[in-house]
Amino acid sequence: MTEEHEHPIENLAAYVLGALEGPERIHVVSHVATCTTCASLLEQYRGVVGALPLGLDPVPPPAEAWAAIRAEAARRRPQSPEPARIKRLPTWRRVMWPAVAALAASLLVWNVVLQLELTRRPPGPEVEALARRPGRLVILMGTGAPAASGRLLVAIDGHHGHLATAGLRPLPAERTYQLWFVRPGAPTVTGGTFKVDSRGRAWATITVPVPLDEARVVAITEEPAPGSTAPTGSYLLEAKSWR
């Protein structure tokens, strides 16, 4: 069997163009989940496909299009639960769910804004300055896993955020990665658990259970699934200071 047959290289381009179907499509999906070579090529092809519309002669949308989108967005949010269900819910829960939905939407939009800014900026101090603007940025260094790194982006509310990591090895089902906030003279608390993809990367929504400035260390350990009440593994990623 040739390498061409082992790696579905001939089909990667068609797949990323959405032109592959049936068993060949399934084969590509399952193959790239475990093959870093093909996954890397696929990512580059995605870049090509992403660039194709940039070659079109630009046509501005109708002037009233944005107003219609804004009005429809306002109409659709917050999403209401089913009326019958509302009657059975206590008052505090009826108040809570719209708030949760609004918060989730807020986090989504915040994330998109952050990504927009990070995408168009070069790496370096400027990126970190931008990343701090919506909230705070904690840079995690690979202490127990030297090849790994992470960024914890804490939203301006101080209670929620996103965690991005790279370089951690994929774990079996019975193990998980867990984020910790270590406080002096107080119990260590967790911000959540997460898995990484086949390329060792993760992007997870997390909670920040204590004010960030109360923590002395932010760390990530490997724990038995579904997570531990206190860290049992050594620190794989760690941050001791942030601004």
Partner: protein, 179 residues
């Protein structure tokens, strides 16, 4: 609605709305349908029904993917097919002056156009039929009356050539959390 959220959506729209509309119009060929695609794309982002995965590319690639899928769905829908069969003249182009944004710089457009024009016609045709008309490899082979293996080779060769020519635009970024 909180002001910050609306401002974020507006920022996203201001930056990419023109590109989404342009792509949609190229695919569906009808300004009204393109506007529908434009609205659907941003509302899906707003509602969170399409979540952004940084591991699968940059924000504009994500948005273009949503827009393209929606446009192809419309293109394949029965009413649209009926309109095409009836030979209705679809208006393409509105004639308003272009408002430049960061994704619409002339050098970028020139680079992409040059790269596409540098492809052999048969390769460019394979790419455009797949991307803008949403045809599968089998459908392209049928439409062009060409063996499927030839279409696969053309597609791959075209994508490899574009990957080389457009590398400065698509080069993966190393900063974590960045697509």
């Amino acid at each position: 609605m909180q002001r910050g959220e609306e401002a974020a959506l507006e920022l996203l729209y201001a930056r990419y709305g023109g590109l989404v509309f342009t792509l949609a119009l190229r695919i569906v060929g009808d300004p009204e349908l393109a506007r529908e695609v434009l609205q659907d794309t941003f509302l899906r982002c707003w509602e969170g029904s399409e979540s952004f995965d940084p591991g699968r590319g940059r924000v504009p690639w994500w948005l273009m993917g949503i827009a393209r899928n929606r446009a192809i769905d419309l293109l394949r829908s029965r009413p649209h097919q009926a309109r095409l069969r009836e030979g209705e003249q679809l208006a393409v182009g509105i004639g308003e002056p272009t408002q430049p944004d960061a994704t619409d710089s002339f050098p970028t457009r020139h680079a992409v156009v040059s790269a596409l024009q540098g492809l052999p016609i048969a390769q460019r045709q394979a790419i455009e039929l797949a991307y803008y008309r949403g045809l599968t490899q089998t459908e392209i082979a049928h439409e062009l009356d060409t063996p499927l293996g030839t279409i696969k080779s053309r597609t791959r060769e075209a994508m490899d050539r574009l990957r080389t020519l457009l590398w400065p635009l698509i080069e993966p970024q190393q900063e974590i959390g960045r697509p």
